[in-house]
């Protein structure tokens, strides 16, 4: 009997991703994000979660997907990293999956791309692959690269 892992899965652009559920603090819809002008491209802005300041990260920009538009369906996945709260804003959330670690594989060595430094590995799902992301690397890997157009 191999170990099992519980993942919260979500969609960002064309990516099907997951974060270990024990790292997730909560999920919230209807985010009121205050943009921070001149901030890095991957940072959407700041929001208020019951009186706490949360930094919102645009997962589309972080994972190198094109176009960013925050719709009413966008969901914030809240996670606490090194004492600060972050919200990973994704297109939509999917189910919580309990997966067998036998299906886990480390990232293929030819995997290169924007934001793929945070990929821990891949689960082979029927019909598609699930990228497992490391939230602390998602935060620490944000570069100072800025939006060329208005923020």
């Amino acid at each position: 009997m191999s170990a099992r892992e519980v993942l919260s899965t979500f969609l960002v652009g064309s990516f099907y991703c997951g974060i270990r559920t024990k790292e997730v603090f909560e999920l919230t819809k209807g985010l009121e994000i205050t943009p921070v002008p001149l901030s890095p491209l991957a940072i959407l802005g700041l929001l208020n979660l019951r009186g706490q300041l949360v930094t919102a990260i645009d997962m589309r920009a972080r994972l190198g997907c094109e176009s960013r538009h925050i719709s009413a369906d966008s969901v914030g996945i809240f996670s606490k990293q090194s004492g600060s709260l972050y919200s990973f804003v994704v297109d939509s959330v999917s189910e919580i999956l309990e997966l067998d670690e036998d299906d886990f594989e480390p990232p293929p060595s030819n995997l290169v791309g924007v934001g793929l430094d945070a990929v821990i590995g891949v689960y082979k799902m029927p019909g598609r692959l699930l990228l497992v992301l490391n939230p602390s690397k998602l935060v620490s890997g944000i570069t100072a690269e800025r939006a060329s157009e208005s923020g």
Binding site: T34, P35, V36, P37, P40, L46, T55, G151
Partner: protein
Amino acid sequence: MDVVRTNLQNIGGSVEVTSSPLGTCFKLKIPLTLAIMPTLFVRCAAERFAIPQSNLLEMVRYHPGDNTERLEYLYGVPVFRLREKLVPLIFLAQSLELRSANDWGGETLNIAVVQSSGVRFGLVVDEVLDMQEVVVKPMVAILRSRSIYSGATILGDGRVALILDIEGVAKNACISGKIREYQRKEAVSGHSAADAEHALLLFELSGDDRLAIPVNQVERLERIERADIQKSGSDSVIPYGDEIMKLVWLADYVDGSRHVKKNAALSIIVHYADGLPIGLVVNQINDIVYVSGQLNITPSHQKGHLGCAVIDEQVINVIDVDGILLAHNSRFLSDVPRLSQTVTVEEPL
């Protein structure tokens, strides 16, 4: 106790009470990040920003129709004449890249005149909202790196507003260096005492005509009659109000100077040390110069000199008041103590 508990809970702290037969232990927990700041809220594009009130000087509304001369461009920097002083302008929306540059079409401008570490400029905003005291919440490091914001705050409606760091805004607009240089020139030519960071009183002794003392070490300037000088021990003194002022002939302590000529009247710089007046006798008092920014004093090993500073291409020797008084007092201590007596004035040398 209840008042303390309620107030602490309001700011997110707590009170813990533990009792034992030996006594009671009160633990007050106060959040470290808490800081309340009075700010002015402004709107720029769709967002609200807070300007710390400590940076705010005044608000100006500028109608282009009133007086079209008032908004001008100086080497591409928009400047604004405010009571005949030039104030550079920063368009906040452009500075934060919320709007493309140079789209000002002559509409009314709301200008917040702000000051940060001696740099004064006008911040053009879209709308002035209200004053509020806000709780400053620190931001994560990646957002602090450009230091345009000093923090963020959560407003009554639950939204987050950013607090501007005025110095960071000036730096971001790359104008602080230019402004500082401009204001230094203005301070020297216009003698605007309030803006100057250093003021030096220029005086002369015979043989040494470019000496200076920092004005903050000067209490008053006096002219005294030589006939009024009396002797107290080895000191020359003079009644000064209710006090007795000791006179120190600076020429005795400053290298390169000779003695005061035997004029009937003497110029005195009154300096207070340990609450007592001390009159520094000089030959002539000339002028006060203002130096803004850092005063570069080159150390000097000459007796009585603190160092020299270059002001308007002239070398000025700044005297070392503390060192001179120390030398004067130690000379006094090495003398054999004598009974204090009043004698007629003797010329020194």
